[in-house]
């Protein structure tokens, strides 16, 4: 391996987001060196090219353009982050095809949904939503990703049920689904064995204990930030390392809280996820910090005396002495503030609504589409709105027209070349 190129990527390893399908080392080198030089014009040009292709495309496989665009974005912005705009692109891409049944069992489309779900705070809601919409029901990858999400949240029973659902629907490829299912079963049984051992070894009360230095489970792409419950299910369970344990533990059914799935008994399947029509957005669940943010400066904590009535804390007494100040001490020089933060608030009036989750937006889109079809809309935009907004960034009329102009120019140049070569060959 070449020494020079490798150093760069060694230095920024921790900034590279892992990808399911891995990264091309050449693309990684290129992306990192481009960022080092701060040269964004090439990236912008490429992005613009994708955006215009999305609008000018007249073939019958638009998903292909989106798919290439998203792969390019992943490879070009190894850090992910805001400037990659990946979350928006994914959202636009999946929203774009929600009405096109032909793509519902396309592995590429399902792949986009999985990536999108991974960028959402509540991936499970997304999986349930697309199941209700009938997207990707025959794709093994959907069930695998869905099950992994359940497993990450510590719900192995549900994770198993998802595989059952996949088998029932006849998801393809079957081998892959089975392989991942077996791996899940192996992990679960290993966990059970570990639990059994713990139960045997100490009879301490099962009170939840705060575990220090434990890795916390993150929800969605968010990193877990303290303060957060550091007990119970919030802690990512560690599966590493098979514990050697006596075989009888396996048979000790009374100890295992978990029913390990047995394929042969599958017909008696006690419960299977029911497919329900998705009418209203689900209420968001599993939120720990429910307290709404509020103004802090006026808040006082009431303090109780031992007689039971509340008093306000007395103001801190003024010091009776003069604090020593060094004579040479100058007030710290302030760098001039470019924008007065006190008045900055008025300048950005529109704040993003907190309740606006990706799922909510998806459903709004669905509803709007239905309204448009049934002609219930009160307003009509008198311009080609679809074209301006069909990418991840917006275009104006002039840009669209410029694209058409450039396309025509290229065709004319191509035509002239053809003519020139034709006449040249004729003269020969």
């Amino acid at each position: 391996m070449a020494e020079g190129g490798d150093v760069e990527w060694e230095l920024s390893k921790e900034n590279i987001q892992p990808l399911r399908r891995g990264r091309a080392i050449s693309a990684l080198h290129q992306a990192l060196s481009q960022q080092q030089e701060g040269d964004s014009s090439a990236i912008n040009q490429q992005r613009q090219a994708f955006e215009s292709e999305l609008r000018m495309y007249d073939g019958d496989d638009l998903l292909n353009v989106w798919d290439r665009y998203i792969r390019w974005t992943e490879q070009t912005f190894p850090q992910g982050g805001k400037e990659s705009n990946l979350a928006t692109i994914l959202e636009r891409a999946v929203t774009r095809f929600t009405e096109e049944n032909t793509y519902f069992d396309d592995p590429r489309y399902v792949e986009l949904w999985i990536k999108f779900a991974e960028h959402c705070p509540e991936p499970l809601d997304i999986y349930r939503y697309i199941q209700a919409q009938g997207i990707g029901l025959k794709q093994a990858s959907l069930y695998i990703a869905w099950s992994e999400e359940y497993e990450n949240q510590g719900n192995c029973r549900k994770a198993d049920l998802v595989y059952q659902e996949g088998f029932k629907k006849g998801a393809e490829p079957h081998d892959k689904l089975q392989q991942f299912h077996k791996a899940l079963q192996a992990r679960v049984s290993r966990q059970v064995m570990m639990n059994v051992e713990e139960d045997d070894s100490d009879e301490e009360p099962k009170q939840l204990e705060r575990v220090s230095l434990a890795e916390l489970k993150s929800r969605g792409k968010k990193k877990a930030i303290a303060p957060i419950n550091r007990v119970g299910s919030a802690i990512r369970s560690v599966h590493a390392g098979m514990q050697s344990h006596a075989a009888p533990a396996l048979g000790n059914a009374s100890n295992s809280k978990l029913v390990v799935f047995d394929e042969n008994k599958a017909h008696a399947g006690p419960s299977e996820p029911k497919l329900e029509a998705w009418m209203a957005p689900p209420t968001s669940k599993a939120k720990e910090n429910e307290q709404k943010p509020g103004v802090w400066c006026d808040v006082k904590i009431p303090q109780k005396t031992k007689f039971g009535h509340t008093v306000m804390a007395p103001p801190p007494p003024k010091p009776a002495f003069q604090p020593f100040v060094d004579e040479s001490d100058q007030p710290p020089t302030m760098t001039p503030c470019k924008i007065n933060p006190a008045v900055n608030t008025v300048l950005s009036a529109r704040k993003p609504c907190r309740e606006d989750t990706p799922l909510k937006r998806l459903q709004d889109h669905h509803q709007q589409h239905n309204e448009a079809v049934s002609g219930k809309r009160q307003e009509q935009s008198m311009y080609c709105k679809e074209l301006l907004l069909s990418g991840a960034t917006e275009f104006c009329f002039e840009e669209l027209r410029a694209e058409r102009y450039f396309k025509k120019m290229r065709q004319e140049v191509g035509g002239q070349k053809d003519e020139a070569s034709a006449s040249a060959s004729a003269s020969n």
Binding site: Q48, I339, V343, A349, E379, L388, C396, E398
Partner: protein
């Protein structure tokens, strides 16, 4: 339809009109840039075309530097200056992508261009040469000069205010107070604020002073909407032009209407008759007695049949433009 106070210009462009601009000092000279790749100079008093020059691609904007020099740029990404006396072209420089807007700032004596390459570039008009490139967060869609302030409207509904005497940092970063794409920004002649129009039938009036009392005065209103069979049709508001004396402004939309607004009393002063197609650009002349109206389809609904592109010159009276 055309009354005695209004007439069409002869020898207009062969394709859509992108901008009309009046001369800063002489009342009768009008620059017109077009998608046919030309910039034309008209004498509107005698209704004749005085001159035209050619770019290698459609021209998106033009501006006067002084009465004898025009600057223009477009899809070929080249910035050209043209001497209107000697009929000579100079290519001043280039952007990395098409040039969308060209403006002149007399206070700082600098030409300003904005481009889809996400940058604003300044040009010294005397040499002429590049005087700096300033990266914007998004593609530049519109810009306007208010004294020594530069107001830039970009994709993603962002508005940036720069100080042209000190381009070291952005003075203010704002978000458009309108929900949809920014079409046009024009500064008040009194330099206190600007009017911003959006693609969905709305105009906002905003102030530059960030203090809260002043910011409280900002507002937005709906316009250029037509009700048809119970459905409200919403048109883009493409053009704004301020009356230099009264600080009132005209807006033109894709509905083909031109309205004149009194921003202080929040009233509409008048509405002209409906023009045959979209209003692409508007310009008051320097003493506010004439309004140039470019009625030209902008392909906002795709490449369809449309009425021909026309420039109307309308005499306007104080009754139509003065706050009551």
């Amino acid at each position: 339809m055309t009354g005695s106070n209004e007439y069409k210009l002869n020898q207009g462009p062969d394709d859509s009109i992108s901008a009309v601009k009046f001369s800063p000092s002489a009342t009768q000279f009008l620059l017109v840039s077009s998608w046919d790749g030309t910039v034309r100079l008209f004498d509107v008093g005698s209704n004749t075309m005085r001159m035209k020059y050619q770019h290698s691609a459609p021209v998106l904007d033009c501006a006067f530097y002084d009465p004898t020099h025009s600057w223009s740029g477009g899809l070929d990404a080249q910035l050209k200056t043209h001497d209107l006396n000697t009929d000579q072209d100079t290519i001043v420089g280039t952007h990395d992508a098409p040039i969308r807007c060209v403006e002149y700032c007399p206070e700082v004596n600098v030409m300003v261009t904005g481009s889809w390459d996400r940058s604003v570039r300044l040009w010294d008009p005397r040499t002429p040469c590049n005087a700096g490139t300033f990266t914007q967060p998004e593609k530049v869609y519109t810009l306007s000069v208010a004294g020594d302030r530069l107001i830039v409207g970009t994709a993603g509904r962002r508005v940036l205010v720069w100080d042209l005497r000190n381009m070291g940092y952005v003075l203010q970063r704002r978000e458009s107070s309108l929900k949809y794409q920014t079409r046009c920004i024009r500064a008040f002649p009194n330099k206190q604020g600007y009017a911003l129009s959006s693609i969905e039938g709305r105009v906002a009036v905003e102030y530059l002073d960030p203090s809260q009392e002043i910011q409280k005065k900002k507002y937005a209103f709906k316009c250029h909407r037509l009700k048809e069979e119970g459905i409200e049709q919403v048109y883009p508001v493409n053009a704004i032009s301020f009356h230099s004396i009264h600080n009132t402004f005209a807006t033109g939309g894709s509905d083909g209407f031109v309205n004149i607004w009194d921003p202080f009393n929040k009233k509409r002063l008048c509405q002209f008759h409906r023009y045959p197609t979209s209003i692409a650009s508007l310009a008051f002349n320097n003493d506010g007695t004439m309004l140039a109206i470019a009625a030209s389809y902008m392909h906002e609904r795709g490449d369809i049949n449309h009425p021909e592109n026309t420039i109307f010159i309308r005499q306007v009276t104080d009754a139509e433009t003065k706050p009551k």
